[in-house]
């Protein structure tokens, strides 16, 4: 810290933590107390009118809730946990935020500095543990370091490619006094959050675009993180290039936009997957060529040149060697490119996607949304709920078949409307993330789709819902299976259903115990009415739908296969 001759105020480290949070505009945090963080909790008591603390039922829930909050608001999510088991419980959430570029500041308590390294009660090397899963982390051992380190933490978490930062604070640093003054950080000499694009690459990219006959845009979360939804739309509309999206790029472009051709990757749409290998130009915008998107990279974009618009230099040429890399925030680089490309339409090429859409509808979608069989499908439930919300709710998912179904069949009008665990695929993410999302956007309906497996990974967060009276709609798609794993067993392991069948408790009773409105649907005939009741209800709601036990998600690009070998059955 630069010693500045500013007005300082004497206070304890724990008050400094809270003053720092307030200085960063934080008004909501998610956490769980314990010995090593008690001084901060004690200080919180004095600030309850300015800084709302949500007590989750598990530290993993606290971090996922902060993620949900961050994903829908674009602000930094904050959670606060104690040392030892509190910190290790937070690890899954931190890892999830890291791989999905979610801005978080996680504050953990730590044993007193004199006890560090002695295997003291609840001492754990959380800085060591979280080193590879944080954008930055730091241990504070004296109160005076608090404002400087927290200012850095917030700056790092939200700037450039966002990510989680962990700040570990020893107990003595929390309870000793300092001269507090807060200066937000705007620059760190060893850190370049955004690199400037190379003008010549923009020209090269423009030329590639102007010459391309079959270009395809790949929309990633970078568009949303950069707030570049309009810039994307302008670019796509001027060039007439169809745009497909990754799981995390979902909702950047409205579902019904004429250039939106659907989802990429393992359970993406038929057209964009197959046509990836017919395209002569792939324009990746804020995406990182995850293996769930590319399948076998050696057989990916086989006829295409690549343009990669990306903030993080380490992503350039990491998976795919590209012809024109454009560094920088896509919000700034897209307009530069748009200015240099010619107006186009690509009607014929766009029509190709429609042909595949017809096949996909006939082979998969129609049956999923309007099943001929008695069993209720996940797709029809999701589709009906989306429609009932006028395609304008915030959709949260857990991980599994229902997640892929939700990304395929829920529809979106606004950006930042889907919250799902992409890179880590964390079961148990959904319920706490939904709580955080609703707290971030109380003005919008929040609906969670969750499987009977993942629901039970963080089911205790129903207690958080009970205590906070938060209005989240939970749609439990119950197939009595760890569905996605069962699907793999069916397709690739000879139907040997090893440990994937679930003997479940009565979810209705459980949710009732937590004070939720509950309803269970076993028959298609009552589905519409039940959905109607859920949507009209005030307060949290569990709609449990007993779905087809052995339904499958298709299309599917088997792991390691080429995207054009996408299977329809």
């Amino acid at each position: 810290m630069e010693k500045e001759q500013k007005n300082t105020k004497k206070m304890t480290g724990s008050h400094a933590v809270i003053q720092s949070l307030l200085a960063e505009g934080v008004d909501l945090i998610f956490g769980y107390p314990g010995g090593a963080i008690m001084p901060v909790y004690d200080a919180l008591y004095d600030y309850h009118d300015k800084l709302h603390h949500v007590l989750t039922r598990h530290e993993q829930g606290a971090v996922h809730a902060a993620q949900g909050y961050a994903r829908v608001t674009g602000k930094v999510g904050v959670s606060i946990v104690t040392s030892g088991p509190g910190a290790t419980n937070a690890v899954t959430g931190i890892a999830d935020a890291m791989i999905d570029s979610t801005p978080l500041v996680v504050i953990s308590g730590q044993v007193g500095s004199s006890l560090l390294g002695t295997d003291a009660f609840q001492e754990i090397d959380v800085v060591g543990i979280t080193q590879p899963i944080t954008k930055w982390n730091f241990q504070i051992k004296s109160a005076q370091e608090i404002p400087g380190a927290l200012a850095r933490a917030f700056y790092i978490a939200r700037s450039g490619r966002p990510g989680p930062v962990l700040i570990d604070i020893t107990k003595d640093a929390q309870s000793s006094t300092l001269d507090f003054a807060y200066t937000p950080v705007t620059k760190i000499r060893s850190y370049t959050p955004v690199n400037a694009p190379d003008e010549s690459q923009i020209l090269k990219a423009a030329q590639l675009i102007n010459e391309a006959k079959k270009p395809l845009i790949l929309v990633g979360q970078g568009v949303i993180l950069g707030g570049a939804e309009n810039e994307l739309k302008t670019f796509a509309e001027k060039t007439g290039i169809p745009a497909a999206w990754t799981l995390l790029g979902l909702s950047a472009l409205p579902s019904d936009h004429p250039l939106n051709v659907g989802m990429l990757g393992m359970h993406g749409n038929y057209g964009p997957n197959v046509l990836t290998n017919e395209a002569d130009l792939l324009i990746a915008i804020g995406m990182r060529f995850d293996d769930r998107v590319t399948g076998n990279t050696k057989a990916y974009g086989v006829n295409a040149k690549f343009i990669h618009m990306e903030l993080d230099p380490a992503e350039i040429n990491k998976i795919i060697k590209v012809d024109a890399p454009i560094l920088g925030n896509v919000k700034e680089t897209l307009p530069l490119l748009t200015a240099k490309v010619i107006k186009n339409n690509h009607a014929e090429w766009r029509n190709e996607f429609k042909k595949y859409d017809v096949v996909e509808a006939e082979r998969i979608i129609n049956e999923e949304l309007k099943p001929s069989k008695d069993g209720i499908t996940m797709g029809e439930v999701i589709n009906k709920i989306s429609t009932a919300y006028n395609d304008d709710a915030i959709c949260i998912t857990d991980v599994g078949q229902h997640q892929m179904m939700a990304s395929r069949y829920f529809k979106f009008k606004q950006t930042r409307s889907i919250v799902t665990s992409g890179g880590l695929g964390t079961m148990g993410f959904g319920l706490p993330a939904a709580i955080g999302a609703k707290m971030g956007r109380p003005d919008r309906p929040v609906v969670l789709f969750v499987g009977d497996g993942g629901f039970q990974m963080t089911i205790q967060e129903l207690g958080t819902i009970f205590q906070t009276e938060i209005d989240v709609k939970i749609v439990l798609l119950n197939n009595n299976f760890l569905g996605m794993v069962r699907q793999w067993q069916e397709l690739f392991f000879d139907k040997r259903y090893a440990s994937t069948e679930l003997i479940n408790p009565d979810f209705q009773t459980i949710a009732k115990g937590y004070g939720l409105h509950v309803e269970k649907v076993t028959n298609r005939s009552s589905l519409d009415e039940s959905i109607g009741r859920m949507i009209k209800s005030k307060g949290a709601y569990l709609l449990e739908v007993i779905v087809e036990k052995e339904g499958n998600v298709f299309p599917m690009v088997p792991a390691g296969a080429s995207v054009s070998d996408v299977r329809l059955e």
Partner: protein
Amino acid sequence: MKQEFTISIFSENHVGLLNQITNVLTRRQINIESLTTSESAIKGIHKFTIVVNTTREQVEKLIGQIDKKIDVLKAFVFTEDEIIHQEMALYKVPTEQLLNGTEIETLVRQYGARILEVHHDYAVIEKTGHKQETQELFDKLDKFGVLQFTRSGRIAVTRTNYEQLAAYLRSLNKETNNTLD
């Protein structure tokens, strides 16, 4: 094709940085051939020199990941012809053998080594050079029974771009900055 690369990393002098950097390598199954670390010419800036055996493509990715660490100022990669490098080796031999004939002394002269200390029981020889050279001397001395042998990691200066690098680091120093200490 795999080849030897020397990676130079300049970083803030923070606890845990070594761990951060080596983790980038170990996570990708890259074996560290040698590693040295020390304060650089600029106060408060640390320099790591790491030797790895890998492909050009992989090393570029490593540099990207290392550069991405918040506290890393800059990482550079060099091939053999772009640097001048040395390692130091220490050899502990029985004094008896040193005094018994002139062979060891001849070797010391021939290899540009020097005798650091001579004690009643043992003598210590020092040599700087490339790994093959220090190894060769070891093999020769070992006929006389080397009691202990140790070799440092590589240190290196660049043949090219040196001015550019120093200027880069100096320019960083002038900028307004938020440091933690």
